[in-house]
């Protein structure tokens, strides 16, 4: 009997720990915002991070969107043809991409790249006492390292998601016109007609939230790391897991809030 309860107990312990982490993340985010609003500001660091996050994530985000958009259109065609609705391909594709897949996939891909990199960099700086050294050199790591990362990530994710949405729709368009017998101009016209402003706005709001989460998870686990090289590894893993879970969770919450009513 008690054996059967073990997974439940483990789940309960995980839930408790998760709530603890969410509380600490909230405090961390509050501290970062509080410090960031007062100077000195570091525009050069912000620019560097924007390039690192935005520009260098384009290939992986573009590729993911292209292949997913194409596969999605193919499946909608196959599924739709069972009840004579294969003409819904452009409409369903654009809505699925813009509302859900564009932001979520871009968020997850960038989290894999960026949260881990931020966590590893800050954790290494913690282990090698570079963070302590920075403080003794009259520079606040919150303003110099953390604020630029959080701001850059929050600003760049909407841009990346915009690109992901466009490329995702293009992936569907390519499959639909080359293999499924759709007329190119007609496909794009249907896409345009079905897409609403709310879809785009919610997509970009999700993106900004995910961008914030990505940098928050990376900075939090890097800044609070301990225990040498193993600690750096742990920080990296925890950052990615935290970012993934929070992205999927907040995505559901926003979707239910915006489209559930």
């Amino acid at each position: 009997m008690t054996k059967l309860l073990l997974p439940l107990i483990a789940l309960g312990a995980f839930a408790l720990r998760a709530f603890g982490v969410i509380g600490q993340l909230a405090i961390f985010a509050g501290t970062a915002l509080g410090r960031a609003v007062r100077p000195p500001w570091y525009p050069a660091r912000l620019g560097e991070q924007m390039a690192l996050i935005g520009w260098f994530s384009l290939p992986v985000v573009g590729l993911t969107a292209l292949f997913t958009g194409a596969a999605l259109a193919q499946q909608i065609y196959v599924g739709g043809s069972r009840f004579n609705a294969s003409s819904t391909v452009p409409a369903v594709t654009v809505i699925a991409i813009v509302r859900e897949l564009g932001p979520v996939l871009a968020g997850l891909m960038v989290a894999g790249r960026v949260s881990s990199a931020m966590a590893a960099e800050l954790a290494t700086m913690r282990v090698t006492e570079q963070l302590d050294a920075m403080v003794t050199l009259r520079t606040d790591p919150w303003r110099y390292l953390i604020a630029p990362r959080m701001l850059a990530s929050t600003l760049m994710l909407p841009l990346l998601v915009l690109v992901a949405n466009i490329i995702g729709v293009m992936g569907g368009y390519l499959i639909a016109t080359t293999r499924l017998g759709f007329n190119g101009a007609g496909y794009l016209e249907t896409t345009r007609r079905f897409l609403e402003t709310d879809d785009v706005v919610s997509s970009l709001v999700k993106a900004a939230v995910f961008g914030f989460i990505i940098a928050l998870a990376g900075c939090f686990h890097g800044y609070h790391s301990s225990g040498g090289a193993a600690g750096v590894g742990r920080a990296t893993t925890h950052a990615v897991v935290t970012a993934f879970i929070l992205i999927l969770l907040t995505n559901l919450v926003i979707t239910v809030l915006v489209f559930g009513a």
């Binding site: 570091y42 570079q130 403080v135 003794t136 050199l137 009259r138 520079t139 110099y144």
Partner: protein
């Protein structure tokens, strides 16, 4: 000479582990104090408490009469501007070239263009015996001894009143260690600064110190002028100075 830095009853525990247990210590203006003690006795923790990098659990740390424990925000920043610190591993910023490391405190990390700052970096590097062409290298391209010198240059660039050196010679060969000792001695004297050095290298202690204090079991168990080191009459100091396994200091050896 008035005391520049006064510590009384400074305590710090990590969980159930008491590292500092009511440390009392005074450092006079312009003197060079060396703190000796075994590995893991809390020497680095003591420095970090003074610098406000670790919050002391109890006690008082006063700089020229001003209480440092409990300071935050701008007041803490201001107090810290009197301090310079050479970290145990150097702690150089590996993403920045040497010259930006050296001038980091002067611009609070901002990338300021202009010859003046670079020239100042090169002049500071010269003070620690490094040639100008080191300025554009990355810290990872330097040997251990050169990294220590760059870290020393970075610690003195802003002309602090009090400089802390955390094991400045650990990991260096004896000759390079002596070079670093000479540099520390010379630069501290030239600036008229107060110096607090942590070490377990007795040759280094004898060279750098005016006065020596020994940290053991969370307390200062002995202090006195460096000349009294060999005739301290203190069993802990004797054992440490002569590096004997037998004595009142018990190393915990576990497999």
């Amino acid at each position: 000479m008035s005391a520049a830095l006064v510590l009384s009853g400074v305590a710090k525990a990590f969980g159930s582990k008491r590292v500092l247990d009511g440390v009392n210590l005074e450092v006079a203006r312009g003197e060079s104090l060396v703190i000796i003690g075994g590995s893991g006795t809390g020497k680095s923790v003591l420095l970090k408490c003074i610098l406000g990098l670790i919050r002391a659990d109890a006690g008082s740390i006063r700089l020229d009469g001003q209480e440092l424990v409990g300071l935050s925000g701008r007041a803490l920043d201001e107090a810290r501007s009197h301090f310079g610190m050479l970290f145990q591993g150097g702690a150089l910023f590996d993403s920045l070239p040497v010259w930006r490391n050296v001038t980091f405190a002067l611009t609070s990390g901002k990338a300021v263009r202009g010859r003046e700052l670079r020239d100042l970096a090169i002049a500071t590097l010269a003070r620690v015996g490094l040639p100008a062409d080191v300025a554009d290298l990355r810290p990872s391209e330097l040997s251990g001894g050169m990294q220590k010198r760059v870290a020393l240059a970075r610690a003195i660039a802003a002309e602090p009143d009090i400089i802390f050196f955390d094991e400045p010679t650990t990991g260096l060969d004896p000759i390079m260690a002596d070079v670093i000792n000479d540099l520390i001695r010379a630069q501290v004297k030239a600036m008229g600064a107060t110096a607090v050095t942590i070490t377990h290298d007795m040759a280094s202690a004898r060279k750098i110190a005016d006065r020596v204090a020994m940290l053991h079991g969370g307390n200062i168990v002995w202090q006195g002028p460096v000349s009294a080191l060999d005739a301290s009459g203190n069993a802990y100091v004797d054992q440490f100075v002569h590096g004997r396994a037998e004595g009142p200091i018990q190393m915990v050896v576990r497999n």
